[in-house]
Amino acid sequence: MLYLFRRELMLFIFLLFSFFIEKSSLNNKKSLSFSETKKENFINYEEIIRENKRLREILNLKERKIFSYFKVAEVIGLRPYIYPAEIIIDKGRKDGIIENIPVFTKELFLIGKVEKVEETYSKIISLFHSNTKISVILGNTREVGVIEGGYGPYLLLKYIPYDSKVKINEEVYTSNFSEFYFPGIKIGRVVKICKEKNSLYLKIWVKPYIAFQGVEEVIIGK
C-alpha cells in the first residue's frame, strides 16, 4: 500500500527535512555561504582582508556618530538572488533589532527597512520589493514624489508633474514626509524619463545605488 504512494511519501519526508534545515539554520544564524565556508575551512586571506576593510569603514561611521541607534549585521540570505526583494540578516530581537528601522550599505545608501524581527534573525524588505513605497525628493528640482519597488533593477518614481525640469542623472533622496526614513538618505539616480499621454505626471525610472553593488554587511540605524 505504502509503495503506491512512495513518491508522495518521499516528497513529504524530504520537504520536512528541508523545512527543518531551513528553520534550524536561521535559528543558528549559520549561512552556508561561500565566504563563510572559505573563512572556516580554507582561511582565504584575501577575503579576510576585504572583510576587515569593509568593517573598518563601518567602524568609522560609528565614530562619526551619524546615528543615534546603530547595529551592523551580516547578510545570510537573499531572495531572489538578483535584485533581492527580501534580505535575511543574522541579527534579531536578542541583538536589539527593532521593526521599521532603515537599513543602509556602508556607503549610507538606502537598502530598505526591517520588516520582521525574530529572536535570532530579521527580514529586511529592500527597495526592490513590490511593497516598497517611499516619499522622495529630487536633488535639483526639489519636487516630491513617491518611489515604488518591484521593477528591478529600477525603481518607479511617480507623481512628478508633467512640466518638471527633472534631468537624467539627478539624484533622489528620501523626503521629509517619510514615516520610517529620515530625510536626505541617498537612494539612486534618474535614468529614464517618460512622458505619457493623458497623464498629469511623468513616469521616471530611478536606478538605486544598491543595484550596482553586492550587499554583504548592512547597517541598521536611525
Binding site: 513518491r7 523545512f19 518591484g150
Partner: protein, 161 residues
C-alpha cells in the same frame, strides 16, 4: 556490478552538473544564472527515475544554496515541488523535454519570487521578463544536453551492436 555502475554514473553526472553550476554562479556575472541542477532533475524525472530525482532534489538543493548564498533548505523545497509535479508527465522526445523544461523553469522562477497570499516580490512585467529569460536559458541547456545524450547513445549502440 550493474548497480555499482549506475551509482558511479550518477555520481559522475552530479559532479559534472555541480561543476557547471559553480562555474556559472562564480565566473559568469550575468543577471540571470541558468539552473543546471533544475534541468538535470527534470531530465531525470522525465526519464521515469522519479525516486532518484526526488532524493537528488534534496541534495542538490542544499548544494545550490551553498553556491547561491541562500538559506540552506530553501532551494530543496522548490526543487522537490517542481520535480514532484513534473513526475506526472511522461516525456520522450528532445523537443517536448525542452518545452517542459521551459514550463517548469518558469514555474520554478515564480516560486522564487512568490511572496504568499497570491502576491509576488516583483511587479508583472519585470517578473515576466526575468522568468522568461531564466526559462529560455534552461530550455537551451536542456536542448543541448538532449542532443548530446542522443548522439552519445547512438554512437554507443553502433559500437556495441
Amino acid at each position: 556490478m550493474e548497480n555499482r555502475r549506475k551509482i558511479f554514473l550518477t555520481f559522475e553526472q552530479i559532479l559534472l552538473v555541480s561543476i557547471f553550476q559553480y562555474i556559472f554562479f562564480n565566473f559568469f556575472h550575468t543577471k540571470i544564472t541558468p539552473s543546471f541542477f533544475l534541468v538535470y532533475l527534470l531530465l531525470l524525472s522525465f526519464e521515469g527515475k522519479i525516486e532518484l530525482a526526488l532524493f537528488l532534489s534534496f541534495i542538490l538543493g542544499l548544494i545550490n544554496d551553498i553556491f547561491a548564498r541562500d538559506i540552506p533548505g530553501s532551494s530543496s523545497i522548490r526543487f522537490l515541488l517542481i520535480v514532484y509535479f513534473s513526475s506526472f508527465f511522461v516525456v520522450k522526445s528532445i523537443k517536448s523535454k525542452s518545452f517542459f523544461i521551459f514550463i517548469f523553469s518558469f514555474l520554478y522562477f515564480l516560486l522564487l519570487v512568490f511572496k504568499g497570499k497570491n502576491e509576488m516580490l516583483w511587479e508583472g512585467f519585470t517578473l515576466l521578463k526575468y522568468a522568461v529569460l531564466f526559462s529560455l536559458f534552461n530550455f537551451l541547456i536542456g536542448f543541448v544536453i538532449g542532443i548530446f545524450t542522443e548522439e552519445l547513445r547512438k554512437r554507443w549502440e553502433e559500437r556495441i551492436f
